[in-house]
């Protein structure tokens, strides 16, 4: 099988304003992201022939990719919804590569938006994962609790403390404070984190990400075709996925997740190692997710995440800047779509506020994580 590393590229990114968007609908947030992405790439909707999106949260939007394509004036020869939860945005890019590589499409729009901060009336029914009834009768209702099971286990196995998780929240907030399109721009201290109320112990309010309205999109094409686009292409160097369980009840481990195998696949494809990454955009639905993923990605040994995240190491200017946009914790929670767009902007250079530009950013890694800690996707991106 021919290695696709470096043969495909992201040639456009679009982001919407994030936060509370009461005037917008789920559809309009997707369309704004598509419009902004097309403008960035300097092409028209009619030139796009593929569209990928996330499975919506509501069955009124089933077969959403085809619906969105036609709402945006795209006549796709390839379109589908993917359903990997927060691992989807990264997976959209991977599937775009696969579609283009097989000749099913040439220019693929990958778009994701959500409206979770302000009400989103809909005629349909909310989509369930299908096994809530093996959790809810015992009072288990929330994603924060799913992640608290991992935090508890990580604390037990490796001595990680809540104060260590605070370091991640604080560093991420610093970055959000530098991002004009971030929801939370008030500085945070470890003490603020420690004083924030317990939601599901051992996770506190400030371990949790935001609920946001907004969207993002990226445009993928071949590296060859990428030369025709106005902005410098960002090459797709490595890709991986791993989904080691579905239900929390059959997880082989709660402290090593899909990120290990997913990143190993991506590093192998790219011929690169963790040491070579200039920054990392790590899915951070909760602080513990970032900690576990940094370990699974090989930036430090398992159990050493608590030391790795200290001393400014994961801040801009540090050894490995993490979530340079403020992440799901402090910018906005759009299932990591903005982790992808941020990585592209960092690699193109001169597109984010100067104070949060990673110096000499040439290689970056992006993670996606979804469901009951069960789904994982990885992208390694590089500047030309």
């Amino acid at each position: 099988m021919a290695n696709v590393s470096g043969k495909f590229a992201i040639v456009g990114v679009g982001e919407t304003l994030v936060g509370k968007r009461p005037e917008a609908s789920t559809n309009s947030l997707h369309l704004e992201a598509i419009r902004n992405c097309l403008a960035d790439a300097g092409i028209k909707a009619s030139q796009v022939d593929g569209l990928l999106t996330n499975q919506p949260l509501n069955d009124a939007h089933r077969s959403y990719a085809v619906r969105l394509a036609h709402m945006a004036g795209i006549d796709p020869t390839y379109a589908t919804d993917l359903a990997l939860g927060g691992a989807t945005p990264v997976a959209l890019v991977q599937h775009a590569v696969m579609a283009i590589n097989t000749g099913m499409a040439n220019i693929v729009m990958c778009v994701h938006a959500r409206k979770r901060s302000t009400p989103d009336p809909s005629p349909g029914y909310a989509i369930r994962t299908g096994d809530e009834h093996w959790e809810q009768p015992w009072g288990h209702f929330a994603a924060v609790a799913t992640h608290a099971f991992t935090a508890q286990r990580h604390m037990y196995e490796y001595g990680t403390r809540s104060e260590d998780l605070a370091e991640i929240a604080v560093a991420t907030r610093k970055h959000a404070c530098l991002n004009k399109n971030a929801t939370m721009r008030k500085p945070m201290t470890v003490s603020d984190h420690q004083q924030s109320r317990m939601i599901v112990a051992p996770l506190r309010l400030l371990d949790c990400s935001l609920e946001s309205d907004g969207g993002g999109a990226v445009l993928v094409t071949s590296a060859e075709r990428a030369r025709d686009f106005p902005k410098p292409p960002v090459l797709i160097l490595g890709m991986g996925q791993h989904h080691p369980h579905f239900s929390l009840m059959d997880a082989p481990s709660l402290t090593t997740l899909g990120g290990k195998k997913s990143s190993e696949t991506a590093y192998r494809m790219a011929g690169l190692s963790p040491k070579e990454m200039d920054f990392a955009e790590i899915y951070d639905c909760f602080t513990i997710t970032t900690l576990v993923t940094l370990e699974d990605y090989g930036f430090c040994a398992k159990g050493e995440g608590k030391d790795f995240v200290k001393g400014g190491r994961i801040e801009i200017g540090g050894e490995l800047p993490v979530n340079t946009h403020g992440g799901l914790l402090s910018q906005a929670h759009l299932e990591g779509m903005l982790h992808v767009t941020e990585a592209v902007k960092q690699l193109r250079g001169n597109e984010v506020e100067a104070e949060r530009q990673v110096a000499n950013a040439e290689l970056g890694i992006v993670s996606g994580h979804g469901g009951n800690l069960c789904m994982h996707s990885t992208l390694i991106l590089g500047a030309v």
Binding site: Q136, P137, I199, V200, D250
Partner: protein, 145 residues
């Protein structure tokens, strides 16, 4: 808020099990008689684990038996809910939810009851208690005596 979704279109939380699930009917029927059971594959001899399914997750064989479990196990991990996501839990916070690993190696979601949530620890030995409701019985666990 409706029967099926909240005001943001998210699925409404339910506090009772779904008793009509085809695969799980014997599980709930056995519990009603205070028998805690799990499926064991007749071909490969392994336990299916939860949720129940008709074909073995290890070898895809269709033949299995519902085997009584000892009811003894350990806390694999646990959390303490300080916020109620469902009206039925409004007066119950803080409460424990645990991942219990049975002696037989099967894991399930449950609650450790009979001790305050702060007394629960990973590795703690627990044993089953049956909580009876009008039309079903929930398996829960208490610190082993």
């Amino acid at each position: 808020m409706s029967e099926t979704q909240d005001k943001r279109g998210r699925p409404a939380a339910k506090d009772r099990p779904f008793l009509d699930e085809l695969e799980a009917k014997p599980f709930w029927a056995n519990l009603k008689e205070h028998k805690f059971t799990s499926q064991r594959c007749s071909a490969c001899g392994k336990f299916f684990g939860f949720p129940p399914q008709f074909l073995c997750p290890h070898c895809l064989a269709s033949e299995y038996e519902w085997i009584p479990l000892s009811g003894k196990g350990k806390v694999y991990s646990f959390v303490t809910y300080h916020r109620a996501w469902h009206p039925a839990y409004q007066d119950k916070v803080p409460y424990n939810v645990s991942l219990i690993e049975t002696e037989e190696g099967v894991r399930m979601m449950s609650n450790v009851v009979g001790c305050p949530p702060e007394a629960v620890k990973i590795g703690m030995p627990v044993e089953i208690v049956y909580e009876d409701f009008e039309d079903y019985t929930l398996p829960k666990f208490r610190p082993a005596t």
